[in-house]
Amino acid sequence: MAEAKTAPDTGAKPAAAGDNSVSLKTLYHDMLLIRRFEEKAGQLYGMGLIGGFCHLYIGQEAVVVGMNAAQKPGDQVITAYRDHGHMLACGMDPKFVMAELTGRQTGYSKGKGGSMHMFSAEKEFYGGHGIVGAQVPLGTGLAFANQYRNNGRVSITYFGDGASNQGQVYEAFNMAELWKLPVVYVIENNQYAMGTSVERSSAETHFYKRGSSFNIPGEQVDGMDVDAVREAGLKAIGWCRSGKGPIILEMKTYRYRGHSMSDPAKYRTREEVTAVREKRDPIDHLGQKLIAEKLASEDDLKAIDRDIRQVVNAAAEFATESPEPAEAELYTDVMA
């Protein structure tokens, strides 16, 4: 459709400000962009246009959007494989992200990475890692580089409640505190490690306490409230930037979809999911607040949604019309 082609290039408004200045309306936009992008990704998966594993971020949007607003340009982000939201929050172009999901030449990794493996040196996004927990030492290494260069930057290292039980996480915690590295460990506790609930997997289910053996302070945050996330993020990033070392933020959040597209999610009841969607949805919650506080009208919110749908549709169109990588790409980028 013609409308889609006139849509702006990118719907992402990288709202990294490092303070409270980003408007709630912008945060609403950024969360909704992720929601609509992920819904579209799920749709394209269903149409066979996205292959392999595809882990959707729906439900957790407030975490990355709130953290991103608390960051300053130059701060680095690294996460695992549920990474589409992190990329959009960093300001990466939805077109190129979607094109990577469809395995096309125009994708961020020329179609060679896929959903779980995308990077943007320009946006300081360091992946996109498929091995549970591996990004934690890597993100700690980014913080090491910041300290080595004394550049005042902070590494925002995301991982889930599942990764929190990997040994290398604690190896990283130990070095980070020992050397006072500037890293915020954001534990996205969406309450299920694939199909295993935290109660069935974790002896200590309060993940913000997981740094206590290393004297790393931690805080539990309502990860469904983007404003609360931003406030906590500002404090935590400030802590790191002032040279006090690492800090942990446990974000209590929830994923609405299965672990990946092929997960029927039978380990929890439909009622449980519905209850969270109806009572705690981060986007609905903020939308109601914007209207109640007269920061936006219903029409404003509808307009935001309409614009985002255009951006997302344009991204999907771009991603399905772009060519697959040339066969010669098989052998490129193996070595520098």
Partner: protein, 456 residues
Amino acid sequence: MPALSPTMEEGKLAKWLVKEGDTVKSGDILAEIETDKATMEFEAVDEGKIGKLLVAEGTEGVRVNQPIATMVGDSEDKSSPAATQKSAEAPAAPKRDAQKAVEAKPAPKVPKVEVAAALSDPEIPEGTEMVTMTVREALRDAMAEEMRRDDTVFLMGEEVAQYQGAYKVSQGLLEEFGARRVIDTPITEHGFAGLGVGAAFAGLRPIVEFMTWNFAMQAIDQIINSAGKTRYMSGGQMSSPIVFRGPNGPAARVGAQHSQDYSSWYAHVPGIKVIAPYFASDAKGLLKAAIRDPNPVIFLENEICYGRSFPVPKLDDFVLPIGKARVVKTGKDVTLVAHSICVGLILEAAEKLATEGINAELIDLRTLRPLDTATVLQSVRKTNRIVTVEQGWPICSIGSEIASVVALEAFDYLDAPPTKVTGKDVPMPYAANLEKLALPHVEDVIAAAKAVCYRD
């Protein structure tokens, strides 16, 4: 019919949860679908009204992408395809030519270079003054020179700083460069290997020392999955300029868990380079090259060789090319190929073979990935016989790879089967006599060389 798993081709429409005329919004569950793996709920993506249900409940074998219902979309959002309506029109994922064979590489051209004279290196200018030093000192000097040259280079590992190195390779570095750049880590291989790779992503050039490569098995995920694959997975955007180094292979009487040769393990992996020198000059020139290389480099040293002394060129900046083997001694009767400590074995074997009238050509591989097969093939085409020598296990060994290359590309030149001398196919025993039996010795090399020459 949506594809709900990577392997699904058709599914059963188990249950409709909406009926015609229902209004649905994004996230509402439309149907239950049985895939090849599980029963899944299928959600609406867009808001709209259910038009017609095209597939009845209970229908089996519905092909992926077959329309199962129509939706009447929101009038102001026609550009957005309804989940089920448009799927039939969507282009099928382009067929991949997975089975299309990759064209075999042409046989590498053999350069017409003069075979180097014994113990000379074409990379070292003639008349260069040589100084004698141990491999240990050569490695230390290489690191010190590169650290003086580039502030982004730093060394980290267990006992590298205050202790001066578990094998004293980093002696004096803490004093010269300070604790910012020579960093003692906790005993935490998986952690500090990953931390090093992250620092490399950010543009630093870490040298990560493993006290021995045996301990690096704890870290192999970070070495291969994070360091080795990121450049490819990022479409060339992000590199890992990092060196992982330390002693490899059996030491002496330390048992199975501390005596293992990882040469072929790492040589197997695309995205990394693997270096395994023997001489001090190669240790120095290649470690300097490894530190400057923009790729992850595995640098396999040998504990027993650390104390051996060799001439090293006295040059301000002696850097050797990675990926080139060296003809250590020319000969005509048989090619003996080795790397790391086994170069010592073939040198010794060649001396004894000479007394029996067999003139062996000796090749030090120096780099295992990329493997310099051209130099090996050139030699085999001359001698018509080849014996490879290594401490690693025989299955999928470096020798196995060389035998394969030689058989493929120099088959008509061979007068005898390519022969491997390797460690025995057992975990390393502790008992002195058994350990001796498990390792290759000069006598084994001599016997193999004589066998391919059809001599007793």
